[in-house]
């Protein structure tokens, strides 16, 4: 089991060093997908590897010449990486055009990188008939542009096969999370994060095999945490939570039992249907994602309701909001979420995450104080 965790750790701790070698080993074209919500199955069905672009480890330097310092860390880091040639292994860029910084990165990269740039626009108003009509056409347009880039026709049969692999991956990750709720502390949250993030970088069929083995082993183990301070992690849109903060939360005696973060539940919640037209099945998933998102206008769902239910279903006592600095969609909803949680008697704490390393001492005290309040 440790060897699998080590492998995931190796992949994720410095993804941009690992990816070029992996690409060479597999002989695949890589589509660098900006977060969030790219229908990766379509790229996979064309025989290419969709990779979710995340922050790099290094400080932002050259990037300052192309993007202002008040854009979120992931936006600035990806621009910086591209200018330094660290994304040269990427064969095509995919932008889901979900919000300003993501549109911003796509525009800067379009001007400064000489690779094909694909867009897949996803309606933000999910319940309107016009949005459904539009997305059906948009998914087909995206499919054609992927075919053009790869020279590979995406047949319904190939797409159905890819959907099966992706659904399996989502099911396995959900199983891992089910285990985590029941056997708190089975893996540290840093380990869980690396399991999910590795899947965003490698072939899903390979990730599935590793996950299957890992889950079998984990099932035989007992919970390692007896902590009563069960926490749900919320937010962290587009970019992963800072590992140091996850460590501090657990060091303070709390245990994270569930989340709605992008490098977590938000990524693997909800499957693509396997009956009928696979393109329409993808449309349906895109428009009915189970985790409400502040970049979308979700008439049917409510993030407050979702979060309260997550807390109840996981037996948690509190919520930690991981807010990416300059992530306006999240910042805007934050007071609403706090109000909703407070009205349900659920305490919460806001932690800001930045690309730049910040002092952890004061954050540590705040986390400790918050955990104390859960007693």
């Amino acid at each position: 089991m440790q060897d699998i965790l080590d492998k995931f750790n190796l992949i994720t701790r410095d993804a941009y060093t690992w990816l070029p070698g992996y690409k060479e080993e597999k002989g695949l074209k890589i589509f660098g997908c900006l977060p969030m919500y790219v229908p990766e199955e379509i790229i996979h069905a064309a025989g290419a590897l969709p990779v979710i672009l995340q922050e790099g480890n290094e400080p932002i330097t050259t990037g300052h010449s192309k993007i202002q310092s008040f854009f979120c860390g992931i936006a600035r880091s990806i621009v910086d990486l591209s200018l330094k040639g660290k994304l040269d292994f990427v064969d095509a860029l995919v932008s889901p055009e979900i919000d300003l910084p993501i549109n911003g990165i796509a525009n800067v990269l379009r001007i400064n990188m000489s690779i094909p740039s694909l867009t897949i626009y996803q309606p933000t108003t999910c319940s309107k008939e016009a949005s459904q009509v539009f997305l059906s056409k948009e998914i087909k347009r995206f499919k054609s542009s992927v075919e053009e880039c790869t020279g590979q026709e995406i047949t319904e049969a190939r797409l159905k096969e890819s959907i099966k692999i992706y659904n399996r991956n989502r099911a396995l990750l959900r199983e891992l999370y089910d285990l985590r709720r029941v056997k708190a502390g089975l893996l540290s949250s840093i380990q869980i994060s690396s399991v999910v993030m590795a899947g965003m970088l490698m072939l899903k069929e390979e990730h599935n095999q590793l996950l299957e083995t890992l889950i079998v082993k984990l099932k035989t183990r007992e919970a390692t945490s007896k902590s009563k301070f069960r926490i749900v992690l919320s937010g962290s849109l587009c970019q992963a939570p800072v590992a140091d903060l996850l460590h501090l939360i657990e060091e303070a005696g709390a245990v994270i039992v569930d989340d709605d973060i992008y490098t977590g539940t938000r990524y693997f919640a909800g499957d693509v249907g396997t009956e009928g037209d696979p393109f329409e099945a993808i449309v349906k998933r895109q428009l009915t994602m189970p985790v409400p998102c502040p970049t979308r206008v979700d008439e049917a769902g409510d993030w407050g309701d979702y979060l309260i239910n997550t807390v109840k279903n996981s037996g948690a006592k509190g919520v930690i909001h991981m807010v990416v600095k300059y992530c306006q969609p999240h910042e805007m909803y934050y007071p609403y979420l706090v109000k909703r949680l407070a009205s349900a008697g659920i305490p919460s704490l806001k932690l800001e995450i930045e690309h730049e390393v910040s002092s952890l001492a004061s954050v540590k005290t705040r986390i400790q104080a918050f955990v104390e309040t859960l007693k």
Binding site: E97, N107, P294, V297, Q328
Partner: protein, 423 residues
């Protein structure tokens, strides 16, 4: 021109202040007058509201109005006390403050500001993705119905056309939503009349913009900023056509008599991004003192039906509204398309330099400002500068820093001119 001033302000714009005051007074009394009141976000189709006799607050216009008033700090403090970070869109923080005063029934603690009542429903147009976010959480906080018009960040003519169709379909859905809500039958003939005025006003307005290609420029972008008041509040009304005609007469007289918007015009500049609403007057003086006049701007010259208004078809108003909104979305989303537009303005208006305003909490037009300067510099040899600001929040603006940078920029322009003259 007032004593000591380098700015020769347009007289017609003095009409704007009472028009705006009247507009907000109508919003303040909407419910007492038995009217529906909407809060709106982004470039929503005002024309449809007007056709249905719905009064509407508009986030960006109201934010600009509030920003120029002393009470704005109090409004922002209120929203921050409610948990809003000051990294958030400053327009959104201002109106959140207004909403909180309404929730508290407090009409007196922010004197000098006309407080708009809370809405019966909310409507957004998602050209700026954050507009949809502001709309959605405010809808939940107010617990009122809402409608958000989605738009595609187009990157090509084909996507623009697709977007036009997408928006048009949604406008039809919006009308059904409004009919259900207000129990009022939508009157297409009234909308056609409104669009006829929109078209006429936009054509006259474009003539005014064209007159500013003259040297010296008879009217500056600062005057255009002030004139956006009627472009918003009187759009689709006969009064707006009359305003632009009076403005045209004055501007034409200036051209005929060689009167410029500033004393001694030496440099003609382009302004990229929204205005700094709380510094319009001061910056116009600062630039004028250096002999610099803003003659074109992205906000005034590329929006408000300035793109091909002669193609507006009052007999098919929804398509014309959708075309304008799709055009705005294309410019907002596609930096290469924006660059082409900037280049066109620079060539049309004989521009010497670009001021790119980098707005801290209002980011749509911040994107690729450095690349636009690089590209235009390479193509045309025109220099540009980035200044740090915010449309409505003085916390992100420094007079001293900005004015020093502008002075240095003017010196660069002088050096450019000398080199050009020598070669």
């Amino acid at each position: 021109m007032t004593a000591g001033s380098y700015v020769n302000r347009i007289n017609t714009t003095r009409e704007v202040k009472p028009v705006i005051a009247g507009w907000y007074e109508e919003l303040r009394t909407a419910h007492a007058d038995g009217k529906f009141l909407a809060w709106s976000y982004g470039p929503v189709p005002f024309e449809i509201f007007r056709a249905m006799d719905i009064r509407f607050e508009h986030l960006e216009s109201y934010g600009a109005y509030l920003a120029a008033r002393a009470g704005q700090e109090k409004l922002k403090q209120l929203s921050e006390s409610d948990g809003y970070s000051n990294d958030i869109c400053s327009y959104a923080r201002l109106v959140r403050g207004v909403a909180m005063l309404n929730e508290r029934g407090d009409k007196s603690s922010v004197p000098g500001v006309l407080l708009v009542e809370s809405p019966d429903f909310v409507v957004a147009f998602r050209q700026c993705p954050l507009m949809a976010t502001v709309y959605d959480y405010q809808k939940r906080l107010f617990n009122v119905p809402g409608f958000c018009i989605d738009t595609i960040p187009a990157h090509s003519e084909a996507e623009f056309q697709e977007n036009l169709l997408y928006i048009r379909r949604q406008l039809e859905e919006l009308i059904v939503f409004l009919e259900d809500l207000t129990k009022t039958k939508f009157d297409l003939d009234r909308l056609k009349q409104i669009m006829a005025y929109v078209k006429e006003a936009a054509i006259v307005r474009n003539r005014v913009l064209d007159l500013c290609k003259s040297s010296p420029a008879p009217m500056s972008v600062f005057d255009h900023f002030i004139s956006l008041g009627p472009a918003h509040s009187q759009r689709g009304k006969k009064e707006s056509v009359e305003y632009w005609k009076r403005l045209e007469t004055e501007v034409k007289q200036r051209v005929d008599n060689g009167i410029g918007a500033i004393k001694n015009e030496k440099f003609r500049l382009y302004w990229h991004n929204l205005p700094i609403w709380f510094k319009v007057g001061r910056l116009s003086e600062v630039l004028a003192r250096h002999g610099a006049v803003l003659v074109a701007a992205s906000y005034t010259h590329e929006l408000f039906y300035s793109h091909e208004p002669e193609k507006i078809d009052p007999e098919d108003p929804l398509t014309s509204i959708a075309a304008e909104e799709a055009w705005q979305s294309w410019l907002a989303a596609d930096s290469l398309r924006t660059t082409e537009q900037v280049q066109k303005e620079i060539e049309d208006y004989s521009i010497d330099g670009m001021i790119m305003c980098s707005h801290r909490t209002c980011q749509p037009a911040d994107i690729c400002e450095y690349d636009i300067i690089d590209i235009i510099g390479r193509r045309l040899g025109i220099p540009g500068i980035v200044i740090d600001a915010d449309p409505t929040d003085p916390a992100f603006y420094s007079d001293a820093q900005t004015e020093t940078r502008l002075q240095a920029f003017i010196e660069t322009l002088e050096a450019h001119k000398k080199r050009a003259a020598a070669s």
